[in-house]
């Protein structure tokens, strides 16, 4: 079980990385009027055909028959649906995969958000070659970070350089 939304994000994004995505975007928004929290993760990885895209949503699709994607998708789907929300997965071979989940913020089983800062930090630093775009709109606070912008400033200095790690840690602490 995933204890929070941030862990779900980590897990779904790892699927994107395993699918050799070069660009991954993560958007998380809370709409207090509609009592909804929405999460969208899109990548330009290898994608899946229709049959596989169906199968990965099924928790009983066996890992022993060559499953490459973990249980993360059914877990997220389960969390979204049991909290009165919804789940959608779209994928096309060669183009990528996008996943959307919505949660009812009033539902007692809604997991906490968890540590988004650490999740974003470790994703950026451990995959400096991937372009990430993170967008959050939570409790009236907007945050957006595209690692491409960081790379433009840094030139040859990689995102996993110790000095950059220090910068990112402080930046996320202040902005998110």
């Amino acid at each position: 079980m995933m204890e929070d939304i941030a862990s779900h994000i980590m897990d779904i994004v790892m699927n994107s990385i395993t699918a050799r995505a070069r660009h991954i975007s993560v958007t998380i928004e809370k709409d207090p009027d509609a009592h909804r929290l929405t999460l969208a993760i899109a990548d330009d990885g290898v994608g899946m055909d229709r049959e596989t895209a169906q199968k990965v949503q099924d928790p009983f699709f066996s890992t022993k028959t060559g499953r490459k994607v973990g249980l993360g998708i059914p877990l997220l789907k389960g969390t979204a649906e049991t909290t009165g929300g919804s789940f959608a997965l779209q994928s096309e071979r060669g183009l990528g995969t996008s996943i959307g989940a919505a949660f009812d913020t009033d539902h007692p089983d809604l997991p906490p958000l968890g540590n988004l800062k650490d999740t974003f930090l470790v994703l950026i630093v451990s995959h400096p070659d991937v372009d990430f775009t993170f967008r959050c709109r939570l409790d009236g606070k907007d945050f957006s970070l595209a690692t491409k912008d960081l790379k433009n400033e840094l030139g040859d200095v990689p995102l996993n350089h110790p000095e950059v790690i220090g910068f990112l840690t402080k930046y996320l602490d202040e902005q998110l």
């Binding site: 995933m2 897990d11 790892m14 973990g70 451990s126 840094l154």
Partner: protein, 116 residues
């Protein structure tokens, strides 16, 4: 704190970059499959990332893999040192990760009690 500060970092760090591009001395790989994440692998990864930043370990690279490890021993971490056999650590947590950084990554002595 803004993106302008990255320019300063760029000037300061440029000299390490060549060295780093040739070959990182140590690679730390944290298993980040579903079971690893559920077992707390993100905090372990965060600890390694934080220590590399704090200790300014410019020749160490921390990365993650979604490949499955041994689910019973998650979170799992592999440490690859140049010209040495890889060491696999199991049942890791942030405290153990700190010890691996000090004893193994910095001082070159694998922590045998955590190895599997």
């Amino acid at each position: 704190m803004n993106l302008e500060e990255l320019k300063k970092i760029r000037e300061k760090a440029q000299k390490d970059v060549e060295l780093r591009q040739k070959q990182s001395r140590v690679r730390i790989i944290v298993g980040m499959g579903t079971s690893g994440i559920a077992a707390g692998a993100r905090d372990v990864l965060k600890t390694f990332v934080e220590e590399v930043g704090k200790r300014n370990l410019a020749d160490v690279v921390v990365t993650q893999t979604g490949e499955k490890g041994l689910a019973s021993q998650e979170p799992m971490v592999e440490v690859f040192e140049e010209d040495k056999p890889a060491v696999v650590y199991g049942n890791m947590n942030p405290e153990k990760a700190k010890r691996v950084v000090v004893e193994h990554v910095v001082n070159g002595h694998p922590v045998s009690e955590f190895a599997i």
